[in-house]
Subunit: 217 residues, 2 copies
């Protein structure tokens, strides 16, 4: 019937709908707020009908986190790989990162950030999944920084971990300023910080080639 013939079984389709609602909910109120009952009501399923898709509530939470991480990669990292290696790509990552929640229509902010705060001290499958994801992200970000060093755009003796640390700090500060303090100027503050961060790690370069610095807007 359908042209592509790749017809997902019905179950997978509703499972996707459930996870969509779950990610939305987790974004707004955290992964601990994911209960079988409310999620069933939100998707129009019965409690037991929804439950059957996941063996337990915890598995549902982990599945929702996986789905959120998948979307994060799709919205932040994949598009950035189209930018050329180096500072350009780092800037693309930074920009995508601070805008992806609204781009993904997640009113409640970055769900991965929420999960980090929720499970940073509670052992279990959720914490394990969160830590693994964050480690992976930090590693990938480190690679992108190293590329900029190999490029010659950043100093060869720079510390990638320091760069990653501060870049993540700017992102966290952005979320905080925007969502908690309601600061509308957060985007500008974030990019100013990023520019200064790049500048501090930039290779001397004899001020010729790429000398963009603060002039951006």
């Amino acid at each position: 019937m359908s042209p592509q013939a790749v017809k997902a079984r019905k179950g997978e389709e509703t499972r996707a709908q459930i996870l969509d609602a779950a990610v939305q909910q987790a974004s707004e109120a955290g992964f601990e707020s994911l209960t079988i009952g409310t999620l069933a009501g939100r998707t129009g399923l019965s409690k037991s009908g929804l439950f059957a898709h996941f063996g337990s509530r915890t598995e549902l939470q982990v599945a929702a986190l996986d789905e959120a991480a998948r979307r994060f990669t799709e919205a932040v990292f994949l598009p950035a790989f189209k930018a050329p290696r180096g500072v350009k790509r780092l800037r693309a990552l930074f920009g995508n990162w601070i805008t992806w929640p609204e781009h993904a229509h997640l009113r409640g902010g970055c769900p991965i950030h929420a999960a980090s705060a929720e499970y940073d001290d509670q052992p279990g499958p959720m914490r394990d999944a969160v830590v693994e994801r964050q480690r992976l992200v930090a590693r990938e970000l480190g690679k992108a920084v190293r590329m900029a060093m190999d490029n010659g755009e950043l100093r060869a003796d720079a510390d990638p971990r320091q760069f990653v640390f501060e870049m993540l700090g700017l992102i966290l500060a952005f979320y905080h300023a925007k969502r908690v303090l309601g600061d509308e100027g957060a985007t500008g503050l974030a990019f100013s910080g990023f520019d200064r961060l790049v500048d501090a790690h930039r290779a001397p370069a004899a001020k010729t080639a790429t000398r963009t610095a603060a002039a951006r807007r």
Copy 2:
């Protein structure tokens, strides 16, 4: 009887004990984990006995947040006021800030940080209390930055909001690196970032009058 004669009524004493347990618990598992039952068990009280100290669960949560904020001020800001105005005081604030949870024996990390993530998108008394607190802290931090500018230690044309934004970012990055990634070098990374932040905003000592930026390093 007692020399000071300031004898607290019994109720206030147990109320303090309850809040102590509550702050501890909130540090480990968030303010949403504060339930009447578990907290009653933890303090050896009956559910109704504990409940009587607060009119509702929400009031208990708010009281716990207030207590956490009180301890934060006591551990971070008050000691820093003993340092001389300027960069020294800013550094004291920074150092106190990243160590206060363990100094206050809060294994689960900064409870205010936890509350920010929990309620950043959930309207209600808790969110209001969190936002008010964070605004206050940002304002106080801004004052400390301005003092360093008046001092001449930081450039007169520096943007205090930018400094505060990035300093908070470093603190958030520290918590994240330490608690989520388990990075033992987080303290060093944090202080390196702070040094660079101060450096970027430092007044050009002697040298020429006012050099705008970039060429340092």
